[in-house]
C-alpha cells in the first residue's frame, strides 16, 4: 500500500480484503464474510484512532495525501484568485495567498504550501518559506486591512527555511514583523493549523483572533526530530520528543493556545477530503460570523488579551 503509515497498515489490509470479496461474482455467498470483516474494520478503526500517540498524529499531520492549502482553497472557497510576490525580492511558492469568496463574503487567504510530487515539492521548498514568503503574507494582510476583509490562514509547514539566502534576507526580521503586523491587524484573523505547525515559521501567519486546529494536526516550538537531536542527542527519539512537548490538538486546547478543534473523518483528513472540508467549513463559518461586525479596536484589543494570557508562571 503506497503512502500507508505503519499503524494504518492493518486497516488497509482489511479494506483490501473486503474490496476483493465485494468483487466476487457470487455476492450472496460472501455476504456474511463481508459483514464480519466490516465489523472488525470498524472496531479496529475506532480503537486505532481513539488512542493515537503524539507521534502517530505527527505522521498523520505530515501525510503525503493530506489536503494542502490550495486544496482547502478549492474545497472551501468559490473563486480563489492567487496573488503573487512581495514586491521586494520575489515570489515564494512555499506561501500562497490571494482573494477568495467564502459563503458570500470576501476573504483574504494565506497559507503554507507543500508540494505533491517531487518536482512540486522542490518548487515549494517542502512548505518551508523564505523571508519573501512572509513579506508577501504581510502585504496581503495590509491589503485585507485596507479593504476591511477578514483574513483566513492555513498553517502547514515544517518551519521557516534554515538557509543562506533566508538568513541574508532577514528570515528572523520577516517573521518578527509579521507578529507585530498581526498584533495590529484591524480585521478578523482566523488561523487554522491544518497539518504541521512548525515553530516560528508557523506562528508567523498564526496570530489569529481565533486559532483552530484540525483534529490530527500538530503544533510545536520545534520539530520532534530537532528537539530529540538537541535534548537526547538522537533524532531517532522524535516519538518521545513529540510526546513530552505536548504537540497535539487536545494538548494545545488544555494549554489555552487554541480555541477549537475541527473534527476529521475517521482515519484522517486524507481519507476523505470532502468530509474534512465540511467540518472545517462549519468551523470557519461559525468563527467568522462571531467576529464579523466587531470594530478594529475591539479585534486588536481582544487579540492582545488572548496572547497576553498565554504562558504559565509561578509568582512569589
Amino acid at each position: 500500500m503506497p503512502d500507508a503509515l505503519d499503524f494504518e497498515q492493518p486497516l488497509l489490509e482489511l479494506e483490501t480484503r473486503i474490496a476483493a470479496l465485494q468483487a466476487d461474482e457470487d455476492p450472496v455467498r460472501v455476504r456474511d464474510e463481508i459483514r464480519r470483516l466490516e465489523d472488525r474494520l470498524d472496531r479496529l478503526r475506532q480503537r486505532t484512532y481513539a488512542g493515537l500517540t503524539a507521534w502517530q498524529r505527527t505522521q498523520l499531520a505530515r501525510h503525503p495525501k493530506r489536503p494542502y492549502t490550495r486544496d482547502w482553497c478549492r474545497l472551501l472557497f468559490e473563486d480563489f484568485l492567487e496573488l503573487h510576490g512581495d514586491r521586494r525580492f520575489g515570489d515564494d511558492a512555499a506561501i500562497v495567498g490571494g482573494l477568495a469568496r467564502f459563503e458570500g463574503r470576501s476573504v483574504v487567504v494565506l497559507g503554507h504550501q507543500k508540494g505533491r510530487d517531487t518536482r512540486e515539492k522542490i518548487a515549494r521548498n517542502f512548505g518551508m518559506p523564505h523571508p519573501e514568503g512572509y513579506r508577501k503574507a504581510e502585504r496581503l494582510m495590509d491589503l485585507a486591512e485596507r479593504f476591511a476583509k477578514p483574513v483566513v490562514t492555513f498553517i502547514d509547514t515544517p518551519g521557516a527555511y534554515p538557509g543562506l539566502g533566508a538568513e541574508e534576507r532577514g528570515q528572523a526580521e520577516a517573521i518578527a514583523r509579521n507578529l507585530r503586523r498581526m498584533a495590529a491587524l484591524r480585521t478578523p484573523l482566523v488561523a487554522v493549523v491544518t497539518g504541521e505547525g512548525g515553530s516560528g515559521g508557523a506562528l508567523a501567519i498564526g496570530m489569529g483572533n481565533r486559532v483552530l486546529m484540525l483534529e490530527y494536526a500538530v503544533y510545536a516550538v520545534i520539530s520532534p526530530e530537532g528537539c530529540a537531536a538537541i535534548l537526547w542527542g538522537d533524532a531517532g527519539k522524535a516519538p518521545e520528543a513529540a510526546t513530552v512537548m505536548k504537540t497535539t490538538a487536545p494538548d494545545l486546547m488544555r494549554l489555552g493556545v487554541i480555541d477549537d478543534i475541527v473534527p476529521e473523518p475517521v482515519g484522517g483528513a486524507h481519507r476523505d477530503w470532502d468530509a474534512a472540508a465540511a467540518h472545517l467549513r462549519d468551523a470557519l463559518r461559525r468563527h467568522l460570523d462571531e467576529l464579523t461586525g466587531r470594530s478594529g479596536d475591539t479585534l486588536v484589543a481582544e487579540r492582545y488579551e488572548k496572547f497576553r494570557r498565554m504562558g504559565v508562571v509561578a509568582e512569589e
Partner: protein, 286 residues
C-alpha cells in the same frame, strides 16, 4: 613565554570552548592571544588585543549601562511553573535548579527601570548562562510586563538580548511568548515610545524572530552571532560549510539587517545619544 605554549593534548575544539580560564591569564577565544585578566576586566571584558567582546553576566551588563545605583529590578519573583512537567534525559525542574545555582539568578532575563545618562528607561538584560538565555513563559511574561510598564511610565525600552531562542521544555507556550512580546512592542510603538534592541553573542531562534529584530534602532556588539536558524542546522540543511563570517554582526550590517555595531565600551554612550535624540534633548556630557 614558553609556559603558555599549548599542550599537545589540547585539541583546537577543546581550546575554543575555553573562554575565560581561572587565574591571572585568559586566552582570547577570537585571536587566541594570552591576555592579562585584569586588563580584560578594566576594558569591560573586551580583548585588549583584538577587541573581541567576551560574554558577560546580566549583572555586569547592567553595571556597565545603568547610571550607578539607579537600577531597580522588577518581577524578580517570577519563576517557571514547569507547565508541561517536562522530562527528557533530565527533569526540567532539575535543569532549572542547576541553572539557578550556577547563575544565582531566578530566570534568564533581568528586567527593571534605571537611568542611562540621566534618561529614565526600562532595561531588560538576558542572562545567557541561564539555560542558554532561552525564552519560556517567565522570560516572555517579564519582558511583556516590562514593556507595559514602559508604556505606563512613558519611557523608552532597551532590551539586551543573548539567547538561543525559545525554551523547548515549555513547548508551545514558549513559542507563544514570541507573539506576546511582539504584541506588547506594537503597543509601545503605538504609544510613540522608543525601543532600542541590543544584540549580543549569541542571539538566535525565536528571540531573534520576535522582539530582538523589532527595535526602532537595532544595535549589535561586534562579532555577535545573530540569526534565525543556528549555524549547525543550516550547515546540515544545505550540506555545505558556511561562509566565513556568516551570521556575524558584520554580516548582518552588510546585508542591511541592523543599524550599527558598537564596541562594548561605547555602548552606554551610544544609548545615551539615542535616548537624547528621541527625547529631543541635547546629548548630555559624558
Amino acid at each position: 613565554m614558553a609556559w603558555f605554549r599549548r599542550k599537545p593534548e589540547e585539541s583546537e575544539g577543546a581550546a575554543r570552548k575555553v573562554v575565560i580560564q581561572e587565574g591571572l591569564w585568559i586566552k582570547c577565544d577570537a585571536c587566541k592571544e594570552i591576555i592579562y585578566r585584569a586588563e580584560v576586566e578594566r576594558a569591560g571584558r573586551v580583548c585588549p588585543k583584538c577587541l573581541h567582546p567576551f560574554r558577560i553576566t546580566s549583572r555586569e551588563r547592567i553595571g556597565q549601562l545603568a547610571d550607578p545605583g539607579s537600577f531597580e529590578e522588577h518581577d524578580a519573583g517570577l519563576s517557571s511553573a514547569d507547565p508541561l512537567a517536562f522530562k527528557d534525559t533530565k527533569r526540567y525542574r532539575d535543569r532549572l535548579k542547576a541553572a539557578r545555582q550556577k547563575t544565582a539568578m531566578p530566570e534568564a532575563v533581568v528586567c527593571g527601570t534605571c537611568l542611562i545618562g540621566g534618561f529614565p528607561v526600562v532595561l531588560c538584560v538576558f542572562e545567557f548562562a541561564f539555560l542558554g538565555g532561552s525564552m519560556g513563559s517567565v522570560v516572555g511574561e517579564k519582558l511583556t510586563r516590562a514593556i507595559e510598564r514602559a508604556i505606563a511610565k512613558h519611557v523608552p525600552v532597551i532590551i539586551v538580548s543573548a539567547s538561543g531562542g525559545a525554551r523547548m521544555q515549555e513547548g508551545i507556550l514558549s513559542l507563544m511568548q514570541m507573539a506576546k512580546t511582539s504584541a506588547a512592542l506594537e503597543r509601545l510603538a503605538a504609544a510613540r515610545l522608543t525601543y532600542v534592541s541590543v544584540l549580543t553573542d549569541p542571539t538566535t531562534g525565536g528571540v531573534t524572530a520576535s522582539f530582538a529584530m523589532l527595535g526602532d534602532v537595532i544595535v549589535s556588539e561586534p562579532r555577535a552571532l545573530i540569526g534565525f536558524a543556528g549555524p549547525r542546522v543550516i550547515a546540515e540543511t544545505i550540506r555545505q560549510p558556511l561562509p566565513e563570517g556568516f551570521q556575524r554582526a558584520e554580516f548582518l550590517l552588510e546585508h542591511g539587517q541592523i543599524d550599527l555595531i558598537v564596541d562594548r565600551r561605547e555602548l552606554k554612550d551610544t544609548l545615551r545619544r539615542l535616548l537624547a535624540f528621541f527625547a529631543d534633548q541635547p546629548t548630555p556630557p559624558a
